[in-house]
Symmetry: C2
Subunit: 427 residues, 2 copies
Amino acid sequence: MNESEVEKTILDVAKRALAASHQLAALSTEQKNAALLRIADLLEAPETLPVLLEANERDLQTGASLGLSDAMLDRLRLTPQRIKGMIEGTRQVVDLEDPVGAILEQKTHKKGFSIEKVRVPIGVIGIIYESRPNVTIDCAVLCLKSGNSTILRGGREAFHSNMTLAAIIRRALEETGLPIDAIQLIPTVDRYALTVLMKLDEYVHCIIPRGGEGLIRFVSENARMPVIKHYKGVCNIYLDADAERQMSIKVTVNAKCQRPSVCNAAENLIVHKDVLQSIFPDVAKALKEEGVQLRVDDCAAETLEAFGGIPFTMATEEDYHTEYVDKIISIKTVDNLEEAITFVNTYGSGHSDAILTENEEAAARFQTEVDAATVYWNVSTRFTDGFEFGLGAEIGISTDKLHARGPMGLNELTTYKYLIRGHGEIK
Amino acid sequence: MNESEVEKTILDVAKRALAASHQLAALSTEQKNAALLRIADLLEAPETLPVLLEANERDLQTGASLGLSDAMLDRLRLTPQRIKGMIEGTRQVVDLEDPVGAILEQKTHKKGFSIEKVRVPIGVIGIIYESRPNVTIDCAVLCLKSGNSTILRGGREAFHSNMTLAAIIRRALEETGLPIDAIQLIPTVDRYALTVLMKLDEYVHCIIPRGGEGLIRFVSENARMPVIKHYKGVCNIYLDADAERQMSIKVTVNAKCQRPSVCNAAENLIVHKDVLQSIFPDVAKALKEEGVQLRVDDCAAETLEAFGGIPFTMATEEDYHTEYVDKIISIKTVDNLEEAITFVNTYGSGHSDAILTENEEAAARFQTEVDAATVYWNVSTRFTDGFEFGLGAEIGISTDKLHARGPMGLNELTTYKYLIRGHGEIK
């Protein structure tokens, strides 16, 4: 396609998504659930598996020839097990409460008319993602349940897998009488398509980018519509002067090691100078035993040298900003609580931060002044997750502050409108 | 200032605003109210009036020499009465409930820790506005009460008035022990300052533009941070097949004529063909008697010609998109409810739309399918307003769908965070 063909194609996708969104907003829960169940059934049909695996094989071969890393290829791969995960995930969404139509507030104006604030779908949501084809199903079903049209833009490397999944979804929509344009995959891998999409704020109400830092930066710098970023997780653990020894070891090890590759794993450990020589060496030893590399500042280095037997390297300024997603942790010593809070607000990514302390006052101050989506007191940061928070689902974890913050479930995919009902009242 | 000086100045403003916002988030309601009362007292102090009027006079003289229209000069003018309005407005905000700290949700995780979702300030809010200097006070006090730092960027023509008002605010902050950088006016009228500010998404969390279409478009196309638009109000009234005659006349006249210059005044009247010859001529006559010009389509023209005595011109496509803010209304005839809904969703600005009908089913469908912040049934659109909706204040009316929709009060100037409190729980 040349540029003007891409423009025409994307404009057409966006217009049809908007028209479909007006129909979706009026659907009953039963109609939406019937479509979701049909998606699950079609994914489960015996004839689907070979088609999906074949499309995925084409992507894997292209990926290998493009020199994708093994980790990338693994994320790209569809297996019967992973497809089963999509099917189960879709059926779980059927069981979730429909957020649309919930009455959020209700009052009567003194002139007599009623004012109702009700939950409604956002409209058209663009999902821009990389690699993992399961995102196609995960995001589409959550957007559908919440009454939104979805425009999907997956990675170039997963194009055939995504096209096949999108075709299944659209067949399910058609078979259950829903507008097929409610879920569309952008039918070209041309990067210019993304540029065009990001200018269509008249038709697309929100973009959720899911992927690496580069993609998220590109989208938030160029999109005209609101963007809800799922940015990096630089999570901090602060060992306060009044931290308890065993809890400090247990929680820090869990936050760093239980699954280092996820966004709610800890990346920085901040240590109050009063516990640097008492508790910190035990924490450092436990981390070392789990195979964690330590990157430390001068004070911590001195302590570890005196303690002996724990290898470390010196931390750079850049380290404190880094989401390692690996068994590495940066250590920073502070003189007081205030310094710890400033450190978190400077280097953290506003995702999840924890204070470990027996001092209630220090905890309250940390929880008030740390500017993050989730602030923990004596609990591992690993719990930041839509399912753990009882949202029933998760389209991602917002590191933004507007519209949605932290784990995003179905409610976070909605907005509201005011409905006024009266009897001819005038001003 | 040259470009690099502007960049340095704006970066400095933004960094100081962010640092102040962390202090503001921890303030008690009493501390914030003390500062608000001090602002009101300083505005009321006898020595303030001449200083303010003198600064305003400089702006008026520059404005006149720049050839500003009388309407523009009137909006720019400060009078003792208008200053009194600011003082009263500020004192009213003292009496409003502090939104910060409200617990929105609370649950206990099965492992034992508590999860609390609490309301917190957004952080740093940029307000970009034109002409009216009272916006300086109105916005600053609402942002302060909700715990946000504010960066104000007023119009070039009101620079001296705004600088004087900002100095009063900052003196009040200082005298009551609050961080003075919580409220800052950009100290240059250079347009490049706006361009720089809009890129600083690391420090400024949200921009609210208040002004004409050109300004709003410029900001939403260029800002990297979320923008909550207060865009035009193209409000529609739909006379359904089952509309009641007297109510149709009364509500349409009120929606168009009670104050034509505001954003919730009606601009388009949609008429079902079944009432085109029965009710519409009476509505048209009543509008004519109020001095309203009619711009009509072919069907309405034919009807009015047969009826006689009501002047009209033909409507263009552009008319239906236009916010006249004047005594002009566009008329569109439709064959059915569906066509009316499509018209509203195509030409309306998502602000306020009304259906007039005795048919409950038609009303329900209109209210569900019209995609607007406020949808009325048998009530004038003129009620879309933070005070009428019981919000106690209004920083504007959002025509966006994300974060805040419709009238924005103090709650809409906040976000939330999750606070987790436990006893060493790990995953």
